[in-house]
Symmetry: C2
Subunit: 447 residues, 2 copies
């Protein structure tokens, strides 16, 4: 294989030091999910295309079809790469329902693929970290309070800017729209979902246009008034009531969202904001929906989203309602890295380089390395015998903090940052705890 | 989404308790790779098809092509899912050569896809765990000794049967064949590679057939004699010499393999077996090749393979020779699980279930859960208030070892295995270390 290599747009890859940041994030997220009792699963990358289709948001044409190059030319591609982890999870639940214990709490950290036009924060391949809880037949409401608290717990351990979880209940706009006499609720929801991206004027134009829902100017105004309501407590209810629209679905939505805000404020005051413009593009959500903004990075869009879905998984006899939330890991990390907010402390796990003066020392160096590794210290032996300065340079280039030399007086270790060199016994010496593993360096204090 | 769901052949998925086994394996492998100073990278799932093609082993028609469903009907699919991690890594090295420090040690644990006919141990989607070391221009020979030692270190920490790493150098058969006057070395190698699968008679038939390499009966016999040689030390050299074939490439191969055997025996006596029938199907290997058998499971084939490749990555100016080895994680684990050799100790990370007598206790239970999680103990709160017996059953079904009840006398914790129930202070109580996380239960002693 040879010749010029150019990156594929929308398929980001990390250099080793940035990958260290990603691994740290993934480890912290996984650890938090497990502390909250979520079990890991992985689903295959492909699903039958008909299972992936019709989930809204122009998703169909963005699906990547998959087929063997050796397949006959006229053979239809009936498999596609999953574009999220919720649809495959619903299928997994149906397939294994007899072997799972419900309510089933699972986390899933995997790549997903969407054939979108790539732009900052929008990739064709990216990693999501999802938690979902699925019941058989019914699913208690309290899980809708619990999930954002799990996310808040994970985020509190990560070097990220302050964030805001926005929550809504789809029944609120649905009931409100029905109360206004709007029939095509889904179309209006999808237009309102673009409010942050395209602004109120453009939304009004789309809502009132002949090709679209063709709302009257006054109805469109009411739709926008609802979308502009937000509150850090249950006071949004009064604001909605003041708009004078009545519908029983609206009442139910208001009651449920108020209950979430009240319960969340008990456990994590200020964490949630009721924001009535939040809709989520995917069609499978039926109740509560979540989005998350990094404060100061609002225009970047949501880095963690989800919601309640009541009918995604059904085998005809039983329906498995669920609620889930998904961290856009790639979106989050590429933002922090590209803004220079985080970086890896080195480009390799190695904490100690064992230097060689002659190739004859290699066998002994390998034994010394094994001793250090046995005590959990990452070590590598120099690729070749070389002079002192060259070995230091090798370590420095990778950010390896310590170089071990064999001297006439026995082994000595040099901290290449301070220059300090001391005699050591490899059987007992250990680096300071912070130097054993690479870590994330934050450039800006987070609050 | 509804209706009957059937598994896709060749795309295995684990239930939560088996996934716990897989996670344990992956964590141990990663930890070992990092202790040996390998840096993590991930590459995108897709490569341009022309980069994936022509790697031998009928790989081309087994590649999964990928294209957007929204693409024009006559648009050629020019992307494919990677079928290994070596080809993408070589591309990554070329793409980032200016930003990497050489020799570059990396590990990569990812899914790969091959459109093969599924059978036991052969999947269409599976996980590999690779280590490779790549140099710029040159790569010292000692890495060919080091890599199998890293694998042996990882395997020594895993609950797997005894194993045998078989090693060969492709220069040996190549030089030997050339010494016999054989011109189409690649075809003969590919046929010999099937020896374990199809047996000596069938191999002889293929070697002498008119459509194939059309060797004479005596030449085919010599080819088979070479393939039958193996030794746990460097004594294979004499056995080859006794066959009376001469070629300078053969001499070089023998010398190198003897050096590996000698060095490996210094560090891990008995770990490597020189086995001259080992060839590897992929065309990019140029020197040392490795395969690994589980003893007692020889017919299952190799669970860890690799080799040296000198010309996989070249940008015209610089060539980046490498050596790598890849653990077939899915192959290995599905074998152990299907044979009943390992299982997860429970189906969830949860160590403690907090029971609820009434729904009013939920807020307090959530606070208690947070206290335990803060000390690293995985906890979940019961989905609903229920009677004593039902809560025990909930925990038992998932293998959760402890249930915490609030009683008139304060919180008490029950070990549901022993039935023992004691008063505890959640701020200080912890389960025994072995119960904090799920683990792997081995059914058969491994030696």
């Amino acid at each position: 294989m040879s010749g010029k290599v150019t990156p594929l747009s929308g398929f980001p890859e990390f250099l080793p030091s940035d990958r260290i940041v990603e691994l740290e994030f993934l480890d912290t997220i996984r650890e938090t999910f497990e502390l909250h009792g979520f079990a890991s699963i992985e689903t295959r990358a492909v699903e039958p295309v008909e299972r992936l289709s019709n989930q809204g948001e122009d998703a169909d044409k963005e699906i990547y079809g998959v087929r063997r190059l050796g397949a006959a030319a006229d053979e239809k591609s009936d498999l596609g790469l999953h574009f999220d982890l919720t649809v495959p999870f619903a299928r997994y639940v149906l397939e294994n329902s007899g072997k799972l214990a419900f309510p089933f709490r699972r986390y899933q950290i995997q790549k997903v693929w969407r054939g979108e036009r790539p732009q900052e924060g929008r990739y064709r391949e990216f990693t999501q970290a999802d938690i979902d809880i699925v019941g058989d037949g019914t699913l208690p409401f309290h899980y809708e309070v619990e999930l954002p608290l799990v996310i808040a717990d994970a985020f509190s351990k990560l070097p990220i800017p302050p964030f805001r979880i926005q929550v809504n209940n789809r029944q609120i706009p649905e009931g409100f729209y029905r109360g206004l006499g709007i029939e095509d609720v889904a179309s209006v929801l999808r237009i309102v979902d673009k409010l942050d991206k395209i602004g109120a004027d453009k939304v009004t134009q789309l809502l009132t246009a002949d090709g679209g829902p063709a709302l009257s100017a006054e109805t469109a105004k009411q739709v926008l008034r609802l979308a502009e309501i937000s509150s850090a407590d249950a006071s949004f209810v009064e604001q909605v009531r003041a708009l004078g629209v009545q519908h029983e679905i609206l009442d139910e939505g208001l009651e449920r969202l108020a209950a979430i805000m009240t319960a969340a404020n008990e456990h994590a005051p200020g964490l949630l904001v009721a924001d009535l413009k939040i809709a989520r593009g995917l069609d499978y959500y039926t109740g509560t929906v979540y989005e998350t903004q990094l404060i100061g990075h609002e225009s970047y869009g949501s880095i963690c989203s989800g919601g309640r879905y009541d009918s995604l998984a059904s085998d005809g006899k039983t329906t498995y309602p669920g609620v889930g939330i998904s961290i856009g890991v790639s979106r989050l990390i590429t933002r922090l890295i590209s803004q220079g907010l985080v970086k890896g402390s080195r480009s390799t796990p190695t904490a100690v380089l064992i230097a060689l003066t002659t190739e004859d020392e290699r066998a002994e160096a390998m034994r010394t390395a094994a001793v250090l590794r046995g005590r959990g210290i990452p070590v590598e032996v120099a690729p070749a015998a070389a002079k002192f300065g060259k070995q230091i340079k090798f370590a420095d280039r990778r950010g390896i903090p310590f170089v071990l030399f064999s001297t006439e007086n026995g082994p000595e270790i040099k901290d290449i940052r301070s220059g300090e060199q001391v005699a050591v016994d490899p059987a007992t010496w250990a680096p300071p705890a912070d130097d054993v593993r690479p870590s994330i360096e934050t450039i800006q204090e987070n609050s």
